[in-house]
Symmetry: C2
Subunit: 434 residues, 2 copies
Amino acid sequence: MFYTQMQAAQKGIVTDAMKVVAEKENMDVEVLRDLVAKGHVTIPCNKHHTALQPEGIGQKLRTKINVNLGTSKDCTDYEEEMKKVHHAVALGAESIMDLSTHGDTKVFRRLLTKECPVMIGTVPIYDSVIHHQKDLGELTAEDFISTIRFHAEDGVDFVTLHCGITQHTIEQIKHHKRKLNIVSRGGSLVFAWMSMTGQENPFYEYYDEILDICAEYDMTISLGDACRPGCLADATDICQIEELVRLGELTKRARERGVQVLVEGPGHVPLNQVQANMEVQQTICDGAPFYVLGPLVTDIAPGYDHITAAIGGAVAAMHGAAFLCYVTPAEHLALPDENDVKEGIMAFKIAAHAADIAKGIPNARDRDDRMAEARQKLDWEAQYAVALDPEKARRIRESRAPEEGHKEACSMCGKFCAVRSINKALEGEKIDIL
Amino acid sequence: MFYTQMQAAQKGIVTDAMKVVAEKENMDVEVLRDLVAKGHVTIPCNKHHTALQPEGIGQKLRTKINVNLGTSKDCTDYEEEMKKVHHAVALGAESIMDLSTHGDTKVFRRLLTKECPVMIGTVPIYDSVIHHQKDLGELTAEDFISTIRFHAEDGVDFVTLHCGITQHTIEQIKHHKRKLNIVSRGGSLVFAWMSMTGQENPFYEYYDEILDICAEYDMTISLGDACRPGCLADATDICQIEELVRLGELTKRARERGVQVLVEGPGHVPLNQVQANMEVQQTICDGAPFYVLGPLVTDIAPGYDHITAAIGGAVAAMHGAAFLCYVTPAEHLALPDENDVKEGIMAFKIAAHAADIAKGIPNARDRDDRMAEARQKLDWEAQYAVALDPEKARRIRESRAPEEGHKEACSMCGKFCAVRSINKALEGEKIDIL
């Protein structure tokens, strides 16, 4: 008998995955098991993803970050793309979403679940077109469902499915006149398919069949938010919250079937609405782990959206978001290059870490304390060692050498270095500035 | 009879500076006058800074940002440094702090107040050493005060003075065993001077004389926070809050003399403590404009501290901080170069703007709405036009051209572009993806 992590947890069984996660989080495994049983922690771990070193996502755990990669018309070299994956993992990504939209997508997907130790997510609707070699309007409900099954068999740990919109959403979107309607890629495809065919959303209509597939492989459903706001003006509106209510209902149905879920969230949200968004999701979805894209707290900064999103992401995670999808400087503009990927990961490692300290994850601040101690001693090697990006820190300092005679400081303050002054003062030494 | 802005406001006089500020903020000038009278808005505008186009800082106004520049041993070319100043102003800095620590500082200072249209701040204690050509221990209280007078005469709009620490602080710092003691440069010099001479802090002891100088020129005092936390572990501790209490007392004394003040704040603060810090300051200092450095929400990211600080800065400003001092990627490592300055300014324009939307500044979201409308139309030129950094946005998109046949989208999504799909769906058009 195969059990999902949730089913096992509900039966009081501690799985190997739970042991690994509890160890990583330095947490009692029975506490973790209870959280998994309730659906407050999700451990995405498809039974076919044998290379996986599992991570938990949810309450009381460190905030995790996801990195989007995948083949596109511009990049169909699988080995090259795998290098990016390994680089992202080395930089601290706990999850990779394979958003491939070109070429033989299963080759790359299987390479991922064979080699990649972090959880793998996909958005099967992207792949339906490619997999079945039919254009959107020609695809049938069965085609969509069979793509989900292929992804489950290939070992995908979680799939984003836009189950929460219906034919009624078409009316809602037309009626409420949002500035940006739908900006979710997968959501827009479901919407367009419903518009073209006049049929109900297959991801909603055949949800029970989807749950059966997910239960068979312990593939987590990441309930996509098709109506996530694409600009501040659309945030927390009727379309968004109506879908969230349905995601709450679908969360319950998944739990009844023993299927693990994540719930996806905004998007673009004014900073003062972020906390409310997190709280509403947590109540409506009964503590299911919230997976947010950003949120971006302004629309005006293309080229810097890793920053606009890290601001929102940090605040979201402080108020309960468990999983942050990174955003790069290329967001809204182009496919991110290698440097963009790194900038995005760094910004989101910062957001997640700042939130972990804020939400009181035990020992989250230890590394900061080590940095403070290294700074107090003006021990630069110790500072680099504990830095998020030792190479960049070293490069900046060494590119602009400190003044002669003040090598212990840096060129920002030179002989005015506060740490140097205060250390001397506390030791009763004379301070020479001139 | 010369009145400071505060004195004028209290007498019911609407000054030219108030008119300019009210116009910029699209606000009733009587409302502004009342805020200035109460000290809830400060308009730093030294009567000798003739090139100034004044800005207000405080309640109900847009959040302003400051950029630190100045000559150092590495850069004593005044014309070169002025280029950086003009570049910073063009990028949106509302204030320049001249932190020069080398060369003939008055040449650059006078150049600034002669040419620069934004408010100019300084930290006179840095300059005391240079101006009087005496090392720190040899300087007298009179030397410090006379430096303040020189800066006032040169047209400086606001001066950071560390008036809030006393001989008692030396005991506090020794007793409470902070991880990083004092990280404020000016604060550490005052501390060291007090330690070496055994005398009371002259900026505290001769505060009335300083107020007289400030009143004479309408130079604003920015009450420096010597004990601002330099790491998360030291945040919101006894040393910080004890000094804040004294800054509250000094704020009252300044107001009684008709002198405008800003109050400086942290520093390094865990994200969950930022709101409380803002609220405590606003109550203790009775609504005086709060000028914060960051705050940085983690210590572990040298090389990315513009991001760690923009997160804290956005949240601080949402909760009431009125003035943000920018932080660059070179913070803690080196003197920022031109690119660092730009990155820092962009991060802080984002933080300030996101906060302005969050705190309900009228029309703050207009620009975001224009971006949303341009995105809905896939009008790239309109997007660049409204972007914070049009050049970078254009460069990223154009460096990675979209797919052939989908020139209206970008290379991130290509034919999967959600905006394209939804626009076609809403117009009843067929969507081709394959």
